[in-house]
Amino acid sequence: MRLLAIASKFLKERMRNRNVLGMQLAFPAVFMLVFGIAFNLGGLGKNQPYDILVINEDQGTFLDFAATDYNYGEDLVEVIRSVTYENSTLPLFKLSNGTKEESRDMLMDREVACVVFIPPQFSEAMEALANTTVRRALTSLVGEGIVPPLGRPMPVEGQVDATVRIEGDPGYMGFGAAQALVRGVLDAYIRGVQASALESVLKDFPGVPVPEDPQDHILTEVESVSGTQMSTAFDYFAPGIMIFGLLLGVMSVAESLAKEVEEKTLSRLKISLMTSFDYLTGSLLSWTLFGAFQVLILFGVALAIGFNWVGGLGSLSLAIVIGCVVAISSVALGMLIAGLAKNQEQASSLATLIAVPMSFVVGVFISYPPGLFADMTGVLPWRQGLMALLKTLSYGAEVGEVLPNIIAIVIETVVLFALGLFVFSSRKMKAE
């Protein structure tokens, strides 16, 4: 009952202090928003060539009417390379060098906005397209039974199709624009080839209409990068920002408890039947509820600005649980700091001094390669939390895979809470 009364007191105080509440909830959310926008919208604002990679696997074809080998794929690559912004000499694309094998890494590293795969039978399909175009144009005018005076055999409708595949990360705004432009260029190229094929026919049969649906043979397909689906750099940073938001909770807890000491309300409680355990567990309960709320807000903001995660609602629920456990760690650290600080001001400074560098140490903003330092930071629950969130949200890990991290967070949090309880009890709850 005492414990619940204390939890209720802290919650009421928190909810009624609108300014502080707003700040505490808004700050991590704004931080998330700023990061999200920075990642998603970076690079917008002025025209610039889109870095793309074109993998041309086209094996070419023999053109009967020209009696020559021809590679439409190479032709298309040159068109893509030379196309410019309207009324500008600025190229629309900058073609990167890379192999098919390297293309995935280039996409992941954002070296290119998309990868265009021109298939081996592209030229054959283009030829088929040209033939089909001519045949349909002529037969639409004179009928299938009449052989027009072409001076060469009537083209046969081709049976070859080819699919130009555009791979990329739909969560990355650069991809959205680049793939649309590539499709536009491809469409224009196809129309150009059709027009060229019809040129000879037009000489003898002026007024031959261009077929309505001439692109049967060339298809385009936009494909999300397998395995990473909709991931963006922001998606990889978002779990870190969530951990950062929860680390900021350390300051709030430390200040709140130190305030209770400074305003002497704790003295009133000390001489009552309340125990240190009642007080700290009650405050832990209220702060954990608050932390859970904060986690939900952080997720909400992240989702609203385009955060994509892997694994569906199960992963999201697991991530929320992980976030709540990490929030308890922050509360425990806040208690420890409040126990060490002499007053509210000192608690605030000390909490800032610890929480902000801690966010770097645990890898919120910096990704550490595996090694001794990364292993050492594993003793911190926030590091374990970050790893668990990344595994869950970015790689779709299931409970069993992140269980070691969750167990580590729980153990580390229990140790931290016990330490906080000991320090706070011995320094603040005993007779002075």
């Binding site: 009952m1 005492r2 007191k9 309300t265 003295s267 009133r268 001489i271 009552s272 039947l273």
Partner: protein, 323 residues
């Protein structure tokens, strides 16, 4: 030792209690006293005399440098928690949770002493009514005036119905209306509920009016401990007896005559009256009238003003209480 000082009748006992703070400031210096069960014990002293430090040691908030505090015969540091529940403390500073309502502040304290929620609410409402805060029951404490907050501060010490109530300057800074509310409530606690009350105050009239016994301390030491009446009878310049003569031209004769009465400390002319000061002057009135009659001086009127604790304090410490 009187019978009243028997162990069973003593609520709190301080034995040679001392407290020296870091830096060498000795706030309390060998203080020994017993607070009897059911009495209202006044603790008087100027700022820095050691009252609050003594009280903080009494309730277990401050560890003494030496000496000991016993509550109902048990050392405070070893007293079971149940014994702590028998004490209610109203600190000198206003200590309330500003973002809780008045009722929530009280029920919160009730919960801390394991008072069942329903009972705590009943007591909270009764206390709010007694402190004339009923219409503010649902108001956040930070919206109250200073006087209201102080009344709430007092109520928070009482919600668990403690046997021993420690009130550290409960009326400091109160407006007359609030002060009356609080003093009447304290008086009611003593008379109606048989509580042991320890009251520190700057306000001599309140200590005089309410206290069964008064301890005067200064520089951490106990200077006097007795009933207010006894202190006023024993210490100070004494009571004031104003004598109006039938013939004011004989004032000089009257002054010279009265000064010869044993125990008279001072006799002066104030306007057209003779002002006589003596301890327990009431007991000396027959003798004064007799010598004046013998001197041929006839008295037309007499009025008596009692010695005050302020006078007692000034005599003991050489300074006023508020200095």
């Amino acid at each position: 030792m009187s019978q009243a000082d028997d162990a069973g009748a003593v609520a709190i006992e301080l034995e040679n209690l001392s407290k020296t703070f870091p830096g060498g400031v000795r706030a309390v210096d060998g203080l020994s006293l017993k607070v009897r069960r059911g009495e209202l014990f006044g603790f008087l002293g100027p700022n820095g005399a050691g009252k609050t430090t003594s009280i903080r040691m009494m309730v277990g908030l401050l560890r003494p440098t030496s000496g000991k505090v016993t509550i109902e015969g048990q050392p405070i540091e070893k007293a079971p928690r149940e014994l702590h529940a028998k004490i209610g403390v109203c600190p000198q500073d206003i200590v309330v949770w500003n973002l809780l309502t008045c009722r929530e502040n009280l029920t919160m304290m009730g919960a801390m002493y394991d008072v069942p929620a329903g009972e705590a609410k009943k007591r909270a409402d009764a206390l709010l009514e007694a402190m004339q805060l009923t219409d503010k029951a649902g108001a956040l404490a930070n919206t109250l005036s200073g006087g209201m907050k102080r009344r709430l501060n007092v109520a928070m010490a009482l919600v668990h119905d403690p046997d021993i109530v420690v009130l550290d300057e409960p009326t400091a800074g109160l407006d007359p209306q609030s002060r009356l509310v609080v003093t009447e409530y304290i008086d009611g606690l003593r008379k109606g509920k048989d509580k042991t009350i320890i009251l520190t105050t700057h306000q001599m009239d309140i200590a005089d009016q309410l206290s069964d016994r008064v301890a005067i301390i200064d520089h951490g030491k106990l200077l006097q401990l007795d009933t207010p009446e006894s202190l006023k009878d024993r210490i100070g310049k004494g009571d004031v007896l104003d004598i109006a003569l039938m013939d004011p031209s004989k004032n000089e004769t009257a002054i010279a005559t009265v000064k010869k009465v044993q125990g008279v400390r001072e006799a002066t002319q104030v306007e057209d009256k003779v002002e006589v000061r003596a301890l327990d002057v009431a007991s000396k009135i027959p003798e004064i009238l007799r010598v004046l009659e013998a001197a041929g001086v006839r008295v037309s009127d007499l009025s008596l003003r009692r010695n005050t604790l302020e006078d007692v304090f000034i005599t003991l410490t050489g300074r006023r209480l508020r200095e």
